[in-house]
Subunit: 321 residues, 5 copies
Amino acid sequence: MLVNCVAYQDGRKLADVPKDEIGDYIRRPGCFVWVALFEPSLADLQEMREEFGLHELAVEDASKGHHRPKLEEYGDSLFAVLQPIEIKEDELKVGEVEIFVGPNYVLSVRKQSERGFQGVRTRSEKEPHLLKHGAAYVLYALMDTVADRYFPVIDALETELERIEAQIFKRDTARSNIEALYGLKQKLMTLKHAVEPTMEAVGKLRGGRVPQVCMGMQEYFRDVFDHLQHINATIESIRDMQATAIQVNLGMINLNETEVTKKLAGWAAIIAVPTLIAGIYGMNFKGMPEYDLAYGYPLCIAVMVALDVALYFWFKKIKWL
Amino acid sequence: MLVNCVAYQDGRKLADVPKDEIGDYIRRPGCFVWVALFEPSLADLQEMREEFGLHELAVEDASKGHHRPKLEEYGDSLFAVLQPIEIKEDELKVGEVEIFVGPNYVLSVRKQSERGFQGVRTRSEKEPHLLKHGAAYVLYALMDTVADRYFPVIDALETELERIEAQIFKRDTARSNIEALYGLKQKLMTLKHAVEPTMEAVGKLRGGRVPQVCMGMQEYFRDVFDHLQHINATIESIRDMQATAIQVNLGMINLNETEVTKKLAGWAAIIAVPTLIAGIYGMNFKGMPEYDLAYGYPLCIAVMVALDVALYFWFKKIKWL
Amino acid sequence: MLVNCVAYQDGRKLADVPKDEIGDYIRRPGCFVWVALFEPSLADLQEMREEFGLHELAVEDASKGHHRPKLEEYGDSLFAVLQPIEIKEDELKVGEVEIFVGPNYVLSVRKQSERGFQGVRTRSEKEPHLLKHGAAYVLYALMDTVADRYFPVIDALETELERIEAQIFKRDTARSNIEALYGLKQKLMTLKHAVEPTMEAVGKLRGGRVPQVCMGMQEYFRDVFDHLQHINATIESIRDMQATAIQVNLGMINLNETEVTKKLAGWAAIIAVPTLIAGIYGMNFKGMPEYDLAYGYPLCIAVMVALDVALYFWFKKIKWL
Amino acid sequence: MLVNCVAYQDGRKLADVPKDEIGDYIRRPGCFVWVALFEPSLADLQEMREEFGLHELAVEDASKGHHRPKLEEYGDSLFAVLQPIEIKEDELKVGEVEIFVGPNYVLSVRKQSERGFQGVRTRSEKEPHLLKHGAAYVLYALMDTVADRYFPVIDALETELERIEAQIFKRDTARSNIEALYGLKQKLMTLKHAVEPTMEAVGKLRGGRVPQVCMGMQEYFRDVFDHLQHINATIESIRDMQATAIQVNLGMINLNETEVTKKLAGWAAIIAVPTLIAGIYGMNFKGMPEYDLAYGYPLCIAVMVALDVALYFWFKKIKWL
Amino acid sequence: MLVNCVAYQDGRKLADVPKDEIGDYIRRPGCFVWVALFEPSLADLQEMREEFGLHELAVEDASKGHHRPKLEEYGDSLFAVLQPIEIKEDELKVGEVEIFVGPNYVLSVRKQSERGFQGVRTRSEKEPHLLKHGAAYVLYALMDTVADRYFPVIDALETELERIEAQIFKRDTARSNIEALYGLKQKLMTLKHAVEPTMEAVGKLRGGRVPQVCMGMQEYFRDVFDHLQHINATIESIRDMQATAIQVNLGMINLNETEVTKKLAGWAAIIAVPTLIAGIYGMNFKGMPEYDLAYGYPLCIAVMVALDVALYFWFKKIKWL
């Protein structure tokens, strides 16, 4: 589905361009066309391929879906794959954006992703001094937007970790903690598999040998790289704490086991001691003098209670109860 | 066993070539011969060695079997070892394909692998504009096919992990989970030991200093490399989750132990308390007034039952039962 | 908030400069201006941006706050982000310092950090032979100060680890140890996320291709780098011991469980054996000769006590009690 | 002890050379001498040092024993240390071979290693087209032999791992498994410490800047490197599985603990329930109607048995017994 | 404290030099002065600084103490920090040696280290053919000595590990093993933090771009590097085994727990079964025929004993007792 198709010159919008006039505009010097597609059909892609002379392998990747961010040079054009991530009902939803960039065109293809990039276009059109850098600026603006959208995701994961940390030393939370920690790990892996290759991709544009089409924009891509590096460091940090938290949780489970065993032992003693006494006074020996005492029975009960009270406080003192 | 031997020129099939005419064709300029062998004898290999002037060490590797993917240059020719993997009855079966590539020949040797590469030849012959890149294109097509055949394997492993994840927080599945996780790890290692060195091998053809025979094909090999990188990242991801799952499973085992101990403690109390009371009323003291009560016995039983009901609900409340 | 604004020439203070005369001073050859801001407003930053011609992206980073140390070149100027860390009530408090350095100016922006850098200025003014290196020396002095302030933090963490190590093999400390180890890990991660990128940033100034403005100062920055490397190695070392300590703590928990189980078993035997004997002598068989013994009852009690004493010493001997 | 000393020219044996004529032969152009020593005395080494002009530090290393494979250049000569490994009575025995290689000599020194390299000499003498590459070929042949002798060792370790894997999910094997896994780990470390540095050493001869004396032999050394890489990958793979197996074993131990606790709980219930009933009917209340029933006693016993049978099947059903 | 101050020329001692004549000697061509200080005062260091023109930052590091080995170039001079380690009463004691090396002087500063380097001087003076390499040779000799003194330390740690390994599978050693393993880890970390940066420092002198003052000595420094590499590999190996040993120890603790639980269960059964029987024959039913049997009581006791003997052998057979 074609979302927009606009031609720009010197940072300013020239015109909305019907698909069949794209060719006219991209031949004008100093002019570039920015086309946005949403979940295009194979036919749409083929059409664009012919219009812009895209490389066969790039178009094949775009049509198949690819599932891993990357940046590839094909002659003087670039093919980038990005993965925006959205949170939906506590799950991470991975989308895909493919961007073809040439000296005089940008073609962005969005898939499985609800939030579009219309805002990027609007913002860019308001800043002609930046947009006049041409197609590379649009690539930057899209990458920057995708990277910025990782921040709320990483914040959500940090919040999740803090929530678990607040639980982890409490009793009887081990089962829910361990499930939550496993879920957190899954989300971290999803995020990491989007961020790390994106970082690698953006890194190719930030310095050293930079593709011709992005020359002069290094400082901008370095800025995106820097944000991604920050996100990546935070992911590593959460992972590290999450791994420690799993170990700690295991320790808490075992501590809890010990506490249960201590409770069991304490109460067992409190019941077993009077049971033993009762057993003794159920014996049938002749001549057990206690049997004939005036207060034999109440005395016996009193001894039982006294022993149990003593045991109770003793176990309290050594923290077994 | 000779599977095929065909000569090509300008991307088109010239003729099926009998073994002893190979020499004629490879001397023709712009012509190359593509020979496919299946589990060849040492004699077959020696014959080919003389025909194409293969390097002694490469032929020795091919005859011995080698068990690790690689790519080596011998002068202006290449020797590649690949490991296609098939799933058979829930086990991974590792095959081996050796490919010798020179400017005017491709020799592929397939071993321990049921699925052949006839489809690759058929497809290539239908795309003369690609096949006219010559021997390097055939190498690409074979590598691409081997790489693509890893995808169903990785999908099977992901499915396996998901199956275990769905079990892991259930009770009484610890034993089967731990066996499944160990089995998964074994399969991951097998796959990883095929993919990682293949990636390294293909990486030598995707950029930087590329062997003469593969010049101009870098974008194609980069595409294979990219697929392998994707597979490799997924392997790492499954490994990471699998390691966490083993830890989680250990936690679940210990949690379960605690739950068993709690149940044991609860029921022990429920039996021990009336046992104590029964013991008391089995004592032989003189003058135990309860003995002479009209409803002494039913009252005693009632107290026992009442205490047990109270204990039962108490243990239910604190989740020990 | 403007803290200071002073012009220097040849390592000596020229004058306190009102904001609107900055322009005059930075145009004088051999003169540089050192401005210090504390939690500036956006307007303050914009003003400085115009005064010194700072790069838009750097100013944006400074205004947003950035949370990760770095060093970036923008043309012939540098933008550095540092994170001083202070200990407040047993918590680590991460501040932020941004430094813009050009050939004839230094602008430092301090945020969320109580301790200022007035001491750095005073010390620098007392050493004109060093300060005459210009803006780069000020950058060095600030970096050196931030790095030196990590030392008390790392010392505190080492002390914390030693405190835990002194506890870890004691009984009944497992719960507090595991909480302390988790807290230590959190602090280590905070420190590591400040130190590691700072090290990377300073590393760019210590050798190899060094930005023009820092030429001739490499030995000084190498010294800061060396201090950071020392801190970093100590962090790694504490982390490593902390991870081992968590494992050891888990071992101690399980050892403790075994000791509790042994105690439980020992006392259970000591109670159960006389209970069995009492049970036997509560039986109602005819013709149990013991019943009619003169000292049947005391003998029976004596046997019970004797068995229990024997059991007690036996369990003491095998260290179950 | 001198094992052999032979001069070669053009790949063919010239003569067995007495020690004091070595000098004559190594001065002949196109001729090289191959000396093999076995556990030489210091005097033997000093003699050789003078004969061939070996470097002091290399001879010192050789006389002391060194315990780590390496390759070092001293001017136009090479000094290599290798560690052949043999299996003796289920233990790994690490030997040492030092090789000095110059343009016109090879001196091999074998220590603590039963299997010699006579076979290498015999094989080399049968292949004059290879041996005429000179001293470097001998170095290759020795390295190749040492590398090939690692294969049976790695096979033995793989077999050992498989043996443990076959045991690991069986009951009551935890103790022997954990001992076997620890022993396997020790052997892996021994092998790894021989293979890894050897790989590094051979790597210096396989490409890039190659020492003069080995020029033109890169493909051969690459082949050895490739075998070592294969061995190394297998070591890593066994290590990885061994680490997982230790975790799994810990899980099995804990699972087993749970099963024991369940059994304990089940049988405890089966004994405790009739004990309670017996206690009740040992009470001395007046007017317990059951006492006077005609079949009171057998009924009571029947109830006990019925309850126990029910409990038994219940516990069987929930897999506690 | 000044230990020695000697001038050398052509590898031979010229004279013991009083401090104030140092200047005369270092101006003589081909002559160098070797000064050794022990725990010098700040004044001593300042004096040396002026005498030899040492760099301010290096002297500052030396006066403060530094705690991490390193090698730094300051113009044409070098500043090295080494950490000799001694074993004292089972503890590792880390010393510090700083070495300033210029074309015509060596200044070594020793701190917190009992063993001096007088032996190095004596040995060097006996080998004028080596000492005539000048200051760089002295640096080598000191580094080599420090490296050689690590060997007894690493041997002690290996012995310690072997001692623990011999204990680890024995019963009731878990507590002492875990303490010993933690102590071993601490020592390993201390050693590692001395060796690793020393290796890095020496590595700068062994090849590639070597500081002018050390030219021609690369083979000697490579030899030191090689020894350090060997030590480092051994450290890694001990660490790896130590980590596995901690896991194994945890497994043994849990195995032991299971064995205790089995014992508990076994003896509980042996006591509980006759207790149940005694309970039954304490019941007060009318018409229990056993009560009137001639040998009722002894028969009952016989049954109890028989059951217990059977249980005992059963538990022995399944290895619970």
